[in-house]
Structure formats: C-alpha cells, structure tokens
C-alpha cells in the first residue's frame, strides 16, 4: 500500500515539476528577452565606438575529417586575416574575434556548431561551412534564426532556391561545367565520359554537366561514380571501361577526393590518350604533386588565384590575389589553394558589411545584398536575387604545365 502511494506521489511530483517548469520557462524566457533587449540598448547607446569590445564572427570549417583539405587552408586564412584586420585597427576601432569551429565534415556537428555560434557565442554572422552537404544542413536553420551565412562551398543548391540569409563565395558549379563544355565544343569534342566522386560535390557536378551538355553538343556516353574510399583498383576498373570505348573523345573527372590525382595517373598507366578535364576542386597544388607527371595537360576551370603572378597587370584582381598568396605562403610555408580564397572572400564580405552597417544582423544582410567586392574568386556583385554575385568571367580555364598551374592558352 505504502509503495503504491509513494509511486503515485513521485509521479505527481514529477508532473508538478514539469508543470512548474512550463510556467517558469515562460518567465525565464521573458527575462531572457528583457536581458538581451537591455544589452541591445546599451550597445546602441554606446554605438560602434566602444573600443575593446570585440565583434564576434563565427566560422565553421571541416578542419579534420574527409574534407579537411578544404577546411584547413580556410581556417588558416581566416586566422591570418583576423590578425591582419586587428593589427590595422579592426572595424571602426573594434577588434574582430573570429571563432572557428571544426565540423569534421559531419552534418549533425555542423548543426550543433551553428547553434553554438548563434546562441552561445552570439556572433553577428557566420562564414563556412566548407562542404556543400554541411551547408545544406543549416540552410533552413540560418533563415529561421535570421543570421547571415556566407558559405565557402560550391553547390548551386546553396543559393538556389534563394534563402534571404544564405550567401556563397565559390563560383557556381554550372559556370565551371559550362567553361569546360565550351572548351570541348571549341576543340570539337562531342562524346565524353563523366567520372565523379559519389559525394555531394561530385553528385552536384554531374547534375550541372548533364544540364548543359546538350547546349554544347556534347554527349555523355558514360556516368561513372566512385566511392570516397575508392581504391586504385576501383578507379582502374572504371578507367578500363573508358578505355574500352574507343569512341570517347574526352573524360571529365569531377570530385574533391584524392581521386583527382589517381585518375590521371591511372590513365597514363593504362595508356588512355584522351584529354582529361577536372573540376575547380583541383585547385590545390598538392593534387598536382601527388599526380606527378600525369598531371601535366589536365584542363580545369578555376579561380585566378592559382596563377596570380601570371596575370596581366591590368587585371583588377591581381593585387588582391598576389597579396593574399604572398601573405599566406610566407606565413604557412605551403602553397595557397582556392579554398582558402573562398574563406578570404567570405570574411572580407562580412567585415565590409559590418563596417558599413554596424552589428545588426538584418542590416548586415542588407548591406551584403547591395555590395560589390573584389576578391580572390572574382569581382562579386551581390543583389537581393543573386547571392553568389559572380559571373562566368570569374573563372578561367587553367592547365598544369611542368608541375605548376598555368593559364590555358586558347
């Protein structure tokens, strides 16, 4: 009897606790809102002049995990920029504090980190993530919580359909696809094989190539996917299929995986003579090094950062590109990659917007939507309907000559 009564009492207590907490919550929430309002008031009164109070900007990159070759240069770039900006007096006198988190390439982690940045660190805007999949995981969330996100990932889906709060700095996949297809058309190539990594980047790339191939009179004879963990043998198998079809005139390999280096090597080994095109994912000299001789002659479309010194002096981007490249390379003793450039652009766009509009989130968003910026990825011209702001001309056709990047001579 006593036992039963105790149980009932316990359950009742639990219920009461829940009910009480419900009520308490509302009160707490109100208090919280009041608190933030008060803080806001103080901020407004003091204005941007409050020296010493850092402006917090969040950053999420895949510093470790499968996509770490994206996140690592991004993180380094951002930390380098932070120091540079603060050394030059910050934004209107306030230093910036860039809080960089590592999502390890994992979507669930990205979600947690976005929450942490918005609710715990109370940042004014977020740059990153490095990967398209991770960006998609927080796209809706950023809109719901009305905070600007400037992604460093390439997929078209990030800005189409448009989310008013989400921007991206890398050139659109479709531009890359169209550049490559145009070059093929010029070279008289009509039948190709598409190899792609079976991850977000490769899957999106395939989509774009398929969408524009017909416009350029190119027929896709084979779609060949490989897993992120693909071995040499797996790729050899795929390329054997390429080799088996004598009517193929070229192959596109679209991925950010190490396969970018293995595919050219295997093609050389197997004696496949058709030209190889790769995506903008190839914009890291380490892939060229890993591919050795076989990398020479690969055609790909990419930002001009990789060939900064070879640009004509009249090029509007040249100064930005050379400065960034030299600063990065002297500091980290490694060659610059386009990925770091995407983060460079993202951070500067946010910083410029804050300079202009202050730290109000909506004001930052509006400022970005009406800004132009000469960055590493090209000349950005944002509008309320174009959240990428780059045109086809932001990309150049590049190739590899004697183990280093060069502009493709048409």
């Amino acid at each position: 009897m006593l036992k039963k009564r105790i149980i009932t009492l316990g359950l009742l207590l639990a219920l009461a606790a829940f009910a009480g907490s419900m009520v308490g919550c509302k009160a707490a929430k109100q208090a919280r809102e009041k608190g933030t309002e008060a803080a806001k008031n103080i901020k407004e009164k003091v204005g941007g002049e409050a020296k010493g109070e850092a402006i917090k900007i969040g950053a999420i990159f895949s510093v470790t995990g499968k996509a770490s070759f994206l996140g690592e240069p991004e993180k380094k770039t951002v930390e380098m920029l932070e120091e540079q900006i603060n050394a030059a007096g910050g934004i209107n006198g306030s230093p910036i504090d860039v809080i960089v988190y590592d999502d390890e390439g994992d979507e669930a982690k990205t979600q947690e980190l976005a929450k942490k940045l918005i609710f715990e660190d109370e940042v004014v805007a977020i740059i990153g993530p490095s990967r398209s999949g991770n960006t998609m995981a927080i796209k809706d969330f950023m809109g719901q919580n009305k905070t600007v996100l400037i992604s460093a990932a390439a997929a078209e889906a990030i800005v189409e359909p448009l989310n008013p709060w989400v921007f991206k700095t890398p050139q659109k996949d479709s531009y890359v696809a169209r550049h490559l297809l145009q070059q093929m058309q010029d070279a008289g190539i009509t039948k190709i094989a598409v190899l792609y990594g079976n991850e977000a980047f490769g899957q999106e790339g395939l989509k774009q190539i398929k969408a524009y191939a017909a416009d350029h009179g190119v027929q896709i004879a084979a779609e060949l996917a490989y897993e992120p963990a693909a071995t040499e043998g797996d790729l050899e198998t795929l390329l054997t299929k390429v080799k088996a079809d004598a009517s193929l005139q070229a192959a596109i390999n679209w991925t950010i995986l190490p396969a970018q280096s293995i595919v050219p090597k295997k093609m050389k080994e197997l004696g496949i003579k058709i030209p190889l095109y790769q995506s903008h994912g190839f914009g890291n000299i380490k892939y060229v090094e890993a591919a050795g001789d076989a990398a020479n002659g690969i055609i790909f479309a990419g930002g001009r950062l990789l060939v900064a010194h070879n640009l004509p002096d009249g090029d509007p981007q040249k100064k930005v590109l050379v400065d960034y490249k030299e600063a990065y390379e002297s500091r980290f003793a490694e060659e610059v990659s386009t990925f770091g450039g995407h983060a460079y652009d993202a951070l500067w766009i946010v910083v410029n917007a804050i300079k202009e509009a202050g730290t109000d989130k909506a004001a930052i968003r509006d400022a970005i939507e009406n800004s132009t910026f000469i960055g590493t990825g090209g000349v950005f011209k944002f509008t309320p309907t174009d959240h990428n702001g780059l045109g086809m001309d932001s990309l150049s056709l590049l190739t590899v000559k004697n183990g280093s990047f060069a502009l493709l001579e048409q």
Partner: protein, 297 residues
C-alpha cells in the same frame, strides 16, 4: 579494347585488391585464432604500415627492399604495444567489451595517424619502375605481380607456421581454451602478444603492397578493416586457406560488379554477399560443419 582484354584487366585489378584484403584478413585470423578476438583496429595497422613505408622511402630516401623489413618490424612493435596497453590490462573481457575496445583503439590510431602524417594523401613510388606488361589490350603492372608473389609467400609461411610448428599450434590452443593452454605450460600472455605483433606485421605488409604507385590517407583504416572482415568471414574465421580463396573471390567480385554492373552499388552488393554467407553458412565457404559446431557463433 575487346571484352576479353577487359576481363583480363579486371582480373588483375581484382587480384591486386584481393591480395591486400587477404593480408588484412590473415592478420584478423591470427589474432582471432590466438585470442578469439576480432580486432577492429586491423585496418589501422595497414594504414600505419603504409605511412611508415612512405616516410622511410620518400622522405628519408631509404631503398624499398631495406625499408620494407624495417616497416614490418616497426608494426610488429606497434602491435605488441597495442596489446600491452589496450588488450592485456583487461581482466575478464566479454565479446562486446573486446569489440568496443578495439574500435576505440582504431579511432585512437586514426587520430595519431592524422597527427603525424597529416590529412593529405601521400604517395609511394612504384617498387619496380619498368614499363608495364602489355597483354592483348590489357596493362599489367609489375607491382601487381609482385603483390601476388608476396601474398603467396606470406600465405605459405603462415600455413607452415600454424600447421607444422608447435608455436603455431600453441597459438591455436590459446584461443580454444586459455586455461587448458596455461596448464600445458604455454605462456598464454606471451603467445597472445606474439599474435598481435604478427598480425600487425601482416597489416604492414598489406599496407605496403597496397601503396606503391597509389596513395594513402589517414582515414583508410575502416575500409581495409571492413574488406578484411568480409574476406575473413566468407573464408571462415580463422581459416587461412579460406581467407585466400575468399580474398580472391571478393577482389574479383568487386571489380567485375563495378565493371559490368554498377560501380555505385558495389559496396552494397559486396556486403550483401557477406550477409548471405553469414546467414546461410556462418562457418564460411570452406568451413567444415564439424568445426563450426565446435565454435561459438
């Protein structure tokens, strides 16, 4: 390129992959035979082997024939260390505990590999730098042939070890019945240590034969591990001859299904084969029914 030369090409790719899988599976078998443990960190041994070889050959410029034994010895040491630090301290491990702890070990080793060798893939020059053999339209690398020879030698050596030497038999006895093995005067602890060292050394061989002309990155371990499990189980856990057959089978099945069916669903198809074997004949393709009954499935 004719169908026949495609088949030849696929066969050699498949055999080269299969050779690596066999070595990983044999490593798994050795530890299983000595302790009844499935080592989920086996794939990491291959990764470590490969990276150490790369460092020795590429960074320090040591010739491959010298670097190879050094790598194998180094991994034997790492295997022994792994046993001493992660496995030996356990007093009465259950299967679940062992599964989890070796998984923990593999995560740990992955972290260490990332810390030491970084995140970018690294490459190793081919062992035999000669023009490949052209046979019909197929290209056969000398390294592929070398892999096959090494695998054959290793398998023969292991067969001899477990069937003909008393140490090999003692190792099997330890897995069967630890207490009885102790009563025979077998130093079970030392035998188990030996099995981990041997197994890690085999993992090193797997990693080394996989890498030339290819590349290695720190996250490859689970891939090796998974393929190793498939081969070990399809061949019958603990059965070396079975592992060899299953390795060849899986290697070929994998390339042919990628080549002629769908490369996208290759992973799913190969694993479905594993499940089928587990459900229908858990003792493996070569497992004798009577042996199966004596083991705990």
């Amino acid at each position: 390129m004719s169908l026949l030369s495609q088949i030849i090409q696929f066969t050699f790719s498949g055999l080269a992959n299969g050779g690596t899988y066999i070595l990983v599976a044999l490593g798994l078998n050795i530890i299983y035979n000595a302790t009844g443990i499935i080592n989920f960190a086996q794939g990491e041994f291959a990764v470590f082997g490969s990276f150490i070889m790369i460092t020795l050959c590429m960074a320090w410029g040591i010739p491959a024939p010298v670097a190879f034994p050094i790598t194998v010895l180094a991994l034997a040491g790492i295997g022994a260390l792994f046993h001493r630090t992660a496995i030996a301290p356990l007093k009465k491990p259950s299967v679940i505990t062992m599964v989890i702890i070796t998984i923990g070990g593999s995560i740990f080793m992955r972290g260490v590999a990332m810390l030491i060798w970084g995140k970018y893939p690294q490459r190793l020059d081919p062992f035999i730098d000669a023009p490949p053999i052209r046979f019909m339209d197929a290209i056969i690398k000398w390294d592929t042939l070398l892999v096959l020879v090494i695998v054959a030698l290793v398998v023969a050596a292991l067969y001899w070890f477990f069937e003909k030497t008393v140490t090999g038999k003692a190792m099997r006895a330890c897995a069967e019945n630890r207490e009885a093995a102790l009563l025979m005067g077998i130093n079970v602890d030392r035998i188990v240590l030996l099995s981990f060292a041997l197994s890690a050394a085999l993992g090193a061989v797997a990693g080394v034969v996989y890498t030339p002309g290819a590349s290695m990155e720190y996250g490859r371990g689970p891939y090796f591990g998974l393929r190793g499990f498939e081969v070990a189980i399809i061949g019958g856990l603990g059965n070396s001859v079975g592992a060899v057959l299953a390795g060849i089978l899986i290697g070929l099945f994998e390339t042919f299904s990628a080549g002629f069916l769908s490369p996208t669903y290759k992973e799913a198809i190969t694993l479905a084969l594993l499940l089928l074997v587990l459900f229908v004949k858990p003792s493996g393709i070569l497992g004798k029914a009577e042996v199966a009954r004596l083991k705990d499935f």
